[in-house]
Symmetry: C2
Amino acid sequence: MRIGEIARRSGVSVRALRYYEEQGLLVPGRSPGGQREYSQDAVQTVRAIQQLYAAGLSSRRVAELLPCMDTGTTTDHQRAMLKAERDRIRAQIKELTATLARLDELVDAADRRGS
Amino acid sequence: MRIGEIARRSGVSVRALRYYEEQGLLVPGRSPGGQREYSQDAVQTVRAIQQLYAAGLSSRRVAELLPCMDTGTTTDHQRAMLKAERDRIRAQIKELTATLARLDELVDAADRRGS
DNA sequence: CTAGAATCTCACGTGGACGTGAGGTGCAAG
DNA sequence: CTTGCACCTCACGTCCACGTGAGATTCTAG
């Protein structure tokens, strides 16, 4: 598959896919003419990248963690990073939950006055 | 209180506080000599700003929502924004939870192999 | 064979939340 | 009165995940 179809199927821009290659996250093959050739499971990789970005990981972290998302095998270094990121995400969820509660209070108070 | 003490008490930089003023989020008074004079509850406001930033809100949104975080009263526009942001945050928590589960699986699999 | 998509490689632009000097002023202490 | 730290105002720099042309090449349909 060429870059345009991967872009459509995964919902990211063509530019983003080239950027991922630049960062070493998803490096496709090349056609004789020099065009990028993606395999089927590239779509899944893109989704994983997006998911990790959304969780606040940097390109560097994603590059270090993507291999074990594919293979399921981890080095000691990767396991340490995984646990660190887990903790970060857990803390983030906790804080978001608190923020949500605070906003809920505001809305509820407004609803009560409004009724 | 002057800017340095607010910075220490709230854990943000002096530059950040000046930036908040620039964005209209937290506008302190001025001493005769032109120095910023913050009230006691500025610390709480700073924490609120940080919390909203951490939840992914822009300065503009924070500026629109900070008043009702203080007073507890909301306009229709603010209530609509509150509900929209709540939904966004809820979705964000959901996605983070899924990501967390995925990382947990990886760590668990690695732990089982390691034991 | 040719028109026109689609893709290619530079390479500069963007937006947001500040960081970081440069050069000048306010204020409490000795 | 002066030392010296905290504060002031510009104003350019930073980081990151791309956006956005410009100009050239490749691929596909007729």
